[in-house]
Amino acid sequence: MSQIGSTISSSLKQYSAFFKEGSGVRNLSFIIMGASHLSKGQLIKGSLFLSAEIGFILFMILQGFSAIGGLLTLGTAQQGWVMDEELGIEVLAKGDNSMLMLIYGIVAITLCILFICVYHAHFKSMQYISDLEKKGLAIPSFKDDVKSLLDDKFHITLLAIPVIGVLVFTVIPLIYMISIAFTSFDHNHLPPKNLFDWVGFANFSNILTGRMAGTFFPLLGWTLTWAFMATATSFIFGVLLALLINKKGIKGKAVFRTLFVLTMAVPQFVSLLIMRNLLHASGPVNVFLEDIGLISAPIPFLTDGLIAKLSVITINMWIGIPVTMLVATGILMNLPSDQIEAAKIDGANGFQILKSITFPQILFVMTPSLIQQFVGNINNFNVIYLLTEGGPVNSNYYSAGETDLLVTWLYKLTIETADYNIASVIGIITFVLSAVFSLFVYTRSNSFKKEDGLG
C-alpha cells in the first residue's frame, strides 16, 4: 500500500514539474488529451487519445456518475404495487435492482481506473516527446510506434488480450463477489423483488461466532483433514507405485504405466459416477461381499458420515496415485545414483535407502507440485460433489452434509439456498487458507531457498 502511495505522489510531482516547465498547447493537453500530439503532427495517436477522453466523459455523464452513486446506496426504491390513478388498479412498479447496480458500479469504477492509466500513458508519451525534442531527435511516426510494438514494447502486444480477458472474466467477477460478502444479499434479499444493502463485517461475524459457526468450523476441520489426507496418500502411494514399476526386472513397464495413466484420461464425472454406483447399497460391491458371506447387511460406503469420509479419501487415491506416479517416474529417471551406490557400500538395506535418500530427493523436487495439489484438494469440488454431493446430510449443519468441503458448501449456498453473502465469505476464507498455506510452505521449502521461487 505504501508503495502505491509513494508511486502516486512521485507521479504527481512529475506532473506539476512538467506543467510548470511547459506552456501553451502542451499544457492544454492536460485538459484536452492529445492536443500536444496533434500539434506535433502525430495525428493518429493524438486523435486516439482525444477520442478516448471524449468517450470517457460521455460515458461518465450518461452512465458513470449514476452507476457510482448507485454503488453507494445499492438502490432505494423497492419493487412493489403502486396505485395507478388513471387505470384505478394497482400495478407492479419496477424498483431498483441492487445486484445490477453493484455490477454496473464496479464496471464504472474499473473504467475510471483504466482511464487514469490511459491518462498517465498520455502524460508519459508527452514527456517522451519533449525529451526527444530537447535532444533534437525526430518524433516517431505512427508507423514507428506500431513497429516498436513488435520489438521494444513486444510485451504489451502479447499481454494485451490475456490481461483484458483476465480483467473481464476473473478480476471484475471476483471484485463483485468479494463486495457481496459485505452485503445482505441472501435468500431474504433477492433482487429484483427485494433490495440488499451494505452490512459491513456482519457476515464474517455470523460465520465465525454467529449462527453459521456450528456449520463452518466442522466443515473447516474436515476440509483441512481431507486436503492433508488426500495429498499425503496420493503422494506416498504414488511414489511407491512408481518405484515398483521402475524396479529392476519388472517386465512391461510401459504397459503397466499406460494402464494406470488410462484412468487420468477418463473424465472425472464419468469415473466418479461409476464409482458411486459400484459402492451403492444395492451395487455390485455390496452384493458381492454379501454373496461370499463377508457381510450380512450392505456397507453404507457413501451414506454413513465416517465411512463416507474414509471412502472419499480412498477413492481419491484411485485418481491421485496415477498422477503422482507419472511425475515421480519422470523424476526417478533423472535422479543421481551415486548416493545410492555409496549407501549400498556402507551396507544400507533397501528400506533405509528409500527412507533416507530416494524419498527426500523426490520430495525436494515435488514440493511445489505438492503444494499445488494440497491447494487443489482444498478446492476439490469434483470428487466430493460427484461421489456424495456432500452427504449424508447432517441436520446440525446449515444446508451441508458430513463430507461437504468449504467449496461444495459454497456451491450449495449459491445454487440451492441463494445465500450469496455467506457463500462469498466462505470463498474469501478458502482463498486466505490457500494463500497462507502456499506462502508458508513455499518460503520454507528447500526448493524455494535453492531456486529463486517466482523468478
Binding site: F154, I245, P267, G330, Y420, L454
Partner: protein
C-alpha cells in the same frame, strides 16, 4: 539369485493386482454400455445379454437427449478454446519468462493471488455479466469463459521457457532480430512439448466441465456440451432407464480422449515435470 526371482514374482503379482483394481471401473463402464437387461443397479458384473441398442438410442436422435448435437457442440467449443487458450497461455508465459519490463513481477504476483480464489466464487458474477450483454446460452459465451481465464495457467509453460538458454535470444538480437522474430522463429519452434501439453489440457477441459457449462446454458438442451448432456441423463426420474445409454455415451467420449491422451502422454510428462521442477 533365488531370492530375486521370488521378489520379482511377487512384484509382478502385486502390479497386476493393482492394475486390475485401476482398470476395473473402466471395464465395467464398457460392459454396462452393452448390457441388454436390467437398470441402474444389477448385482453382477458380466452382463447376461449384449446389445447395441443403447448406442443406437444415442444416435437416433431424441429431442431431450440430442447426443450428436452435444458432441458437435463440444467439439466446436473445445477446438476454438484449444486454439485461443494456447495462444493466450503461451504468450503470457513467454512474456513473464523472457521479456523485462516494469510490471513483470507485479503481474506475476497478482496472477498467483487470483488463481487461489475458488473458481466457483466468480461463476455467478460471470453469468450475470454475460447476461448483461445477452450472451448466455450460446457456445460463444462458453468459449469466452473457458479461454479468458487461460492466461492464468501460465506457470507450467513459464517453467519450460525458463529452461531455454538465453544465449539463443542474445545471439539472435545481435543479428538484428526483433523481439517478435525471436519469439516466433526461435522460441516457439523449440517449445513443441509445452505447446502440445497446453493445447491438450485446453482441449480436454470442455469435455470434462459440467458446472460452468450448466450455469451458462441453463435449460437450453440444444446448446449443451457432452458433459452436462450426459449429466442431465442422470436425474432422478431418468437415471434408471437411461443408465446404459449414459455409460454408452461415456464410452464414446472417453475413447477419443483416452487415445489422444496416450498418444500425447510423452508431452504430458515433459510438460508437468518441467513445470514442477522449475516451480
Amino acid at each position: 539369485m533365488k531370492k530375486d526371482t521370488i521378489s520379482n514374482f511377487l512384484s509382478h503379482g502385486l502390479l497386476i493386482f493393482l492394475a486390475a483394481i485401476w482398470v476395473f471401473p473402466i471395464i465395467w463402464i464398457v460392459l454396462t454400455s452393452f448390457r441388454g437387461e436390467g437398470g441402474m443397479f444389477v448385482p453382477y458384473i458380466i452382463p447376461k445379454e449384449y446389445t447395441l441398442e443403447h448406442y443406437r438410442y444415442l444416435f437416433n436422435g431424441n429431442s431431450n437427449f440430442p447426443f450428436v448435437k452435444w458432441f458437435t457442440n463440444t467439439f466446436i467449443v473445445s477446438v476454438v478454446t484449444c486454439i485461443l487458450s494456447t495462444i493466450l497461455t503461451v504468450s503470457m508465459a513467454y512474456v513473464l519468462s523472457r521479456l523485462q519490463f516494469k510490471m513483470r513481477k507485479p503481474i506475476m504476483k497478482v496472477s498467483l493471488v487470483l488463481t487461489m480464489f475458488p473458481a466457483f466464487m466468480s461463476m455467478i458474477a460471470v453469468y450475470y455479466l454475460l447476461k448483461a450483454v445477452n450472451l448466455t446460452q450460446s457456445l460463444f459465451a462458453l468459449i469466452l469463459v473457458y479461454s479468458a481465464g487461460a492466461a492464468l495457467n501460465f506457470f507450467i509453460a513459464k517453467g519450460f521457457f525458463d529452461t531455454i538458454p538465453r544465449t539463443l535470444d542474445e545471439s539472435a538480437m545481435i543479428d538484428g532480430a526483433s523481439k517478435a522474430e525471436i519469439f516466433t522463429k526461435i522460441t516457439l519452434p523449440l517449445s513443441k512439448p509445452i505447446i502440445v501439453y497446453t493445447a491438450l489440457m485446453a482441449f480436454m477441459a470442455p469435455w470434462m466441465d459440467f458446472i460452468f457449462a450448466k450455469v451458462i446454458m441453463g435449460d437450453n438442451v440444444e446448446k449443451y456440451t457432452i458433459a452436462i448432456g450426459l449429466f442431465s441423463m442422470m436425474t432422478r426420474e431418468n437415471a434408471d432407464h437411461l443408465y446404459m445409454a449414459f455409460t454408452a455415451g461415456c464410452v464414446l467420449i472417453a475413447v477419443p480422449i483416452t487415445l489422444l491422451f496416450i498418444y500425447l502422454q510423452k508431452y504430458y510428462v515433459e510438460g508437468i515435470t518441467s513445470g514442477s521442477v522449475k516451480g
